[in-house]
Every structure is written in C-alpha cells, then in structure tokens.
Amino acid sequence: MKVGIVGIGITDFKIHDEPFYNVAYVAAKKAMEDAEIERREIDSFILGGYDNLGVGRTISNMYVAPAAGGYLRHEIRVSEDAAFALPLAYMRVKSGLSDVAIVLGFGHSSETPVELVELQSLDPLFHRDLKLSLQMGYAMQSYVYRNSFNVSEEDTAKVVVKDRKNALKNEYSFLKESISVEEVINSDMAVYPLRRPEIAQWCDGCVAFILAEETTAKRINPDPIWIKGLGWTYDNYFMGTRDLSKLFATAKAAEMAYGMANLKPSDIEAAEIMDLTSDYHFMILEALGFAEYGKGKELIDSDFPVNKSGGALCTNAYGSTGAFLLANLALQIREGEIEKGIAHAMTGIGQNAAIAILSS
C-alpha cells in the first residue's frame, strides 16, 4: 500500500504580523483547496514545529490544531522541523488508522529571539556556559569542513549566488535579492569563516500537505505524489564526539530512505536541501551520496538541480523550513520537471536529519 501527497498549501514566507493561527489556517485551507476536499474529509491532523520558547506559545498545538481544522479530530505534534512530522503521518496512514491526514508545518521565528532561545537547548552542565549559539556551531563545522577539504571562499560564495538566483523565480521564497560572488566575499564576517549572506535568515510561514492512502489518494487526485522513502535520525549531542566535517545524521537518514525506496543516489533527479549555511550545502550533498566527501563543490556547476526553491539560505522559517523544501520538491514532480527527488531537513547544529524521497 502506498501513501501519496494529494494537496499542497504554502503561505507567504515573510515576517507575519497577524495572529499566527491565521497563517496556519491559510496553509491548511490552501492545501484543502488544492486537493479539492473539505475539512470534514480529513481524519488526522499531524502538526510539525516548535513549542513554547521557539514560537512564543507553550503547547503550540493548542492554537495550531484548530487553525489547521483539527476541531474534534485526531491531532498530534512532532517537534523540531515539520519534516519530522511527515514520517508519523505516513505511518498513521499506512497502518490504516487514517484515510486522509494533513501535515501542517509552522514556523514563527519572528515571535522570539531564536539565537537566545536555542542557547536554552544547551545542557546546563557542559555546554550552556559556552554560550554556543547555532551560528557559532555552524561556523565550527564550516571551519573544519573548509580546512579538511580545501574548500575556498569562492566555492562557498557560489552556493549563495546560486540559491539567491533560484529564489528570484520562486513565488514563495523569502529572500529575493540577487548577489554576486564578489559581493558575498566582500560582505561582513558574521561568525568566522561564515559571512553574513552565507547564513540563513529567519522568517515566518506555514506549509500543509494532505496525505492519503493509495486508493483514496487516486480518488482525490489522479496523479498523487508518492512517498517512496523516509529516513530520520539523530547524531550524538556532544559535538566533541563528532567528525564535524561530515553530517552523520544526514547520511544515516539517507541510507534508511534509499533502502525504503529501493533507490540509489544516481536514481534521484533533483534535491531540495536545508542548507542553513553555504558549507552545509556541500556537506549535505555529500552525506546524501551525490558526491564523495570533500567534493560537493564540484556539483555547483553541474546540471543536477539542487534547491530550485532557493533553499534554506533564502527561506528559513524556524520549524517549517524542511516542509517548505519538501513542498517545493513535490511541486517540481507535479509540474513534470522530474520524476524522483529527495528533500532534506535538519535542526540543531547538524545533529539530526529527516529525509523524504518522493516520486510521480
């Protein structure tokens, strides 16, 4: 039995000033309109996104579940990026407990100082006194990566240029400003060795998917986008135990997803990856098996489409970024541009990953 995506709803990704349940509502409504179904036809509401400090509201599913349409229905929230909610929705549908489910990813970073909030995720014994912000962690990985594999500033600047160029053509992306390699290299240093345009900026937005079991899916939409493979896992919390030049969780989750889909990297025609920094762009592609370790930079000039959406470097709503990338991949399949693609998400300092392989 297969599980398919039959509806997609994406809101504007920007700084939203209105009550955020309105934004969640818009995503859910758009997905239902896209699938041409009513709220009452959905039996399960699976939410994905952060809580309390991360969105300024404790028990965030309290306001998101009704906004998504979950009134008197099954609801549950998976924390971290909403890409982690997709496997749970898939398993609920596959088990037969649900015929039609909605996954709603929400990210409301403007409500909260994310850098300070993430400091609270550091354990109080070993890490908190270090005040290791997300961006500092990203920079440590970049530093190790660049030195391990001789990656230059020009190489990583090209990622920013490419993502920015793609985002200009994507109606949903947040950051729409073209930039040149020279401008990246001459921009302010944010956290050495990362310059300001090389680190994703925060924004807000929601994404909704409607999932259905195979038979029902075909009734709703003659051409569902099938979920072929899923993988999700965590690496060790302690950064000192990790090889910072590689993304173990991404590689491990990819292994699971490829195994489930019975596909290999060479079968994949496009990727949407959560490149929170320019270096992560290469590191993710390597962990996904598209290049040998240290050779991700060779893909920048290849024909292999990566982040047609503009990637996380141009759209990063804390909590829904992975769902945004997944939706953009699904749209590429729907438009007939590709048949099989992979979407990647990760949170923390590269500690975890949630991966989905979709196909027509």
């Binding site: 809580d51 404790t58 599913n61 609801e75 924390s79 995720s121 965590y234």
Partner: protein
Amino acid sequence: MKRVAVVGVGQTKFRTRRDDKTHPELTYEAMNKALEHANLEIKDIEAIAYGTMDPFDGIYLPERWDVTSGGIGKPFMKISTGGTTGMTTGLAAYEHVASGVFDIAMAVCTQRVGECVDAQPVLNTAVCPIFERYSGAGAISVAAIQATVHMHKYGTTEEDLAWVSVKDHKNALKNPNAHIKLDIGVEEVLNSPMVSSPLKLLECCPRSDGAVAVIFASEEVAKKIRDNPAWVIAETTISDNYYAGDRPDLSYWDTLAIAGRRLYRHAGVDNPKKDIDVAELYSPFTIQEVLELEALRFAEKGEGKDLAREGVTFPDGDMPTNPSGGVLCTNPIGATGLVRLAEAALQIMGEASYQIPDVNVSLAHAWGGTLQFHTLMLLSSKKKLK
C-alpha cells in the same frame, strides 16, 4: 494494520526533584528498566518516540541531549502535545509498529517539573495572549471552575470529591514509584489548605520529576518476548477548539465523551462498565475523575460523584480507577500520560504494584491543553475483544 502489543514497561521513581540524575540519565533509567522488563537490549529497539513538555525542565528541546541515552543513529522523533504528551508519545510509538515499518519501537517520556519555579505561570503562556492570557488562569483555576459548575448543577459536595483523593492516596501507598504517599482520610482532605475554591491541597496533583518507557512490538515479535503482553485494541485522540471560554458546558466533558464513543466503537465495547476492568485516568484534580467517569460512561451524568464515596472506584469495587495512585499522587506532566499507559499495561500483564484481579481489558487516558485534548488507548489480554 499490524497487531501490536505492549511488551515492556519501565518507570523511575517519581520525586519532587531528581537531583541525583541528569535529564538523559533519567531517560536512560526508564529505558533500561523497560528493556529489562522485556528481556531486550537497546540494539533490539528499532525506533524511538520521545516525549516531554520543554517549558518546565529548564532546558529547551531536551531530546537533543536525551538522545544520548540510547537513541543515536536510530529513527528518533520528539512528540509534545501538552498534558496528553505521554499518551500521544505512546500512540506515536504504536503507529511505528502498527504501520509495519518497524517491529519494535519504544516510547519514552522524561519530565523534570522540579526545575521550574512554578508550573502554573508556565501553563498560562499556552493560552491566547490577546484574549485569555491576562485571566492568569493556570490548570488549577480551570479545574476549580469545573468543580463549581458540577456542584451547582448536580449537588456534588466537597466530601464527594474528597473520597476521590482518599482512594488515590491509599492506592499510591502500594506503588514504589509514586511521588506522594500519605495515608489520609476524608477529614484530612477537607481540612487541607484551600488552593483554588473548592479544590484543596490534597485534591491537587504534585509536580514530579521522573521518566517512563513503554516498548511496543508486532504480533510475531511480541509472542517471543512474553506470554502475557498487553494488546492494543483501539486508540483515539481528539482536539477541541483553542479557547477555554468556548467550552459549551464545564459540567460535562463532551469532547472526552465523543472520543470515548469513537474508542468503544472501534474496540467493540458496548457496556464500558462491564467490558472494562480497570481505568488509569488522567485526573490531576479530584473533580476531573468525576467528569471522566461520566464522559466515559462509567457513570450517568451527575452520578460520577457517588462512585468513590460508594467504593465503586476503589480496587475492590466494580470499576477500579487509578490503582497506581493516579495523577493526584504522581505528575511528571509530559510523562504522566505514558505512566497511565504503562500502568494499564501492567494491569493486563498481572504485574501492577496494586494488581486488580482478573483484568482482561484496561483503559488509559490523558487530557491536555486548557481542557482541549484527550487521548485514549484500550488494552487487553486478548488480541480482539470480539
């Protein structure tokens, strides 16, 4: 759908503070106990669903640290849904196996409410900042309103509610993991300090530190692990709307009644009083057990108040509730739901600390939000009820 059973349960001791252990060490303790109970090793666990409610614990997203307790490299996802977190984490682990994607999955929940100065202001940050936050209502005040409305409508007395507390506290005396252990009578409850009228101190739950783990396995695997597994018969979860002020009738928990009706229909339960042998209900305040008994059809509307006083819900009564001592005696908030599920499973296995004789069907329940969510799961010694 694959048939699934609970095959292992592990709980830590629940205390006001567990300063002896870090967050992942508590998680590790519960996981190890569940593994020992199922005679498994961590390598046998294929996936983990982890639950907590971050805002109490003095650490945000503790799953990142707690994954070191045995989850590194495994499929690991964090569930958090308020008071229902424990039950929804169990439900998520159940779905891992019911879908056929995994054969063995573990649910584990850890909570350290002792890290937080006061849980009530934290809970108040859940409600809408525009319309309801300035009421300052935490969970206790909302439960107090439920009690007041029930008293007004059905003549429920403070003594009726005190009997619920007496029953839970007496049960907790037998539970080595329970947090509050007091041998008390109705007088002590009635004479305890008023917290939010009409609810008194001994009618309100504590705030606890601790962890709990539950292992789910597919039929083929469960049979190899133990000969007394607790089979999952049915589950359901429901959400009401966001605003507590929109609840139509605080004297009757209608969303729980709707959820119960769905659960019973899926399970084939016609007469809950007769078909269900024991229930672990999420009642952090005495009045809520009364409302839950009525919504789940263990009592008629307005008659739930009589059950504890008449001994019906005591372990030797016709419809025992919370033989573990319940939430009134142990409340690690985001783990509490999974404790209900663990205790309901132990009753089926015949291994509970306060074992009810001949249990074939047990019910586990949790509620969350401002009276917004309910999750239910029905377990049995048989693979099917009918």
